[in-house]
Symmetry: C2
Subunit: 168 residues, 2 copies
DNA sequence: CTTGGAATGTCAACAAAGCTGACGTATTGT
DNA sequence: ACAATACGTCAGCTTTGTTGACATTCCAAG
């Protein structure tokens, strides 16, 4: 079952041993904690959570997006998203406007106050990412992105690539 | 505030633009979903959750570990871990034995049944990781690990490195 | 034109898993 | 003897996911 180190294995395949894979799994787990730590700290003071951060991020990213679209990007149920969205709208961070063409849809935008919080959160997250990128160097960063992209579900990767090259 | 593309910037720093960092952030978010998707599916049928998976993983990894040690690796409170651990012990997947040297400690091991579930979960997770590694290639994998390690908190990295080179 | 079904979004109730705080018990070490 | 440590537990709260029921809006078939 376990690969172990098979002497006859080509050098080029050593990175696929169970041990290497396990290290990658643990690296992913521990790194994700760091990845969310800084925004989480900021949000804790404001009675918001990670779900609010995600909503704010993708609304900023795709202004005017509908609830349904946001739903499929975030991969949660609409009831779960709705709770988060409701508090953000009540608190004046997100604006929801009825669709022109289709009045069933709601188009979502960040208000100026919402944009301020988005900035604060993404600055914090980017700072850590920038430090990691700088420490690892451009070649490592390219590999990092390649592996992450290969790790996504098919459908998820479509979402990722759809917003890949939009201008900021 | 925003880096934009500064014409005078050396080519070597282009990977540090806000846009590159944002892509990395989104890649991390989407990939983590894929990373947990397969074990989550298996666990859903068994009325266990991701928290149970994490406990099982690290008990397998460090057989005989104490509750306190597991606590600091997982970064949760003892009440939270205890809830998970209690169900695993009741269900006969984890064994808790009083310490020889220090009788206050409990040493945790997987039972044969626990080892079976661990295998099932880690096989599923490794399969995806292996596919991603294979698609990206050894150089990319090295970069992937470098960036992840640089992204961890100091204390977390110590945990990660402490169990880095243990034999399986 | 009407009407029935599909799509969009909201409300209610519940579950998983995190948290704080307080407390009890056994054991260790000063 | 006594303080500190390791563990377990009770109670109660929060965030964030779930399902089920329901209102509104749109569209297309009759």
């Amino acid at each position: 079952m376990s690969d172990g180190l098979q002497p006859q294995m080509g050098q080029s395949l050593l990175f696929l041993t169970d041990e290497q894979l396990r290290k990658g799994i643990e690296a992913m787990f521990f790194a994700y904690r760091g990845f969310t730590a800084d925004p989480d700290r900021i949000l804790a003071d404001k009675s918001y959570g990670r779900a609010h951060h995600r909503a704010i991020h993708f609304i900023h990213r795709s202004p005017g997006t509908t609830v349904n679209n946001l739903l499929s990007i975030l991969g949660v149920t609409k009831q779960s998203l709705n709770r988060v969205l409701r508090t953000l709208i009540e608190d004046g961070l997100v604006a929801s406007t009825v669709g022109q063409r289709d009045k069933r849809e709601r188009h979502l935008h960040l208000t100026p106050a919402g944009a301020v919080l988005e900035r604060e959160l993404s600055d914090a997250q980017r700072d850590r990412m920038r430090a990691a990128y700088r420490a690892a160097g451009p070649a490592a960063v390219a590999g990092f992105r390649q592996v992450l992209e290969a790790m996504m579900d098919e459908e998820t990767r479509h979402h990722y690539e759809a917003m890949k090259d939009r201008p900021e």
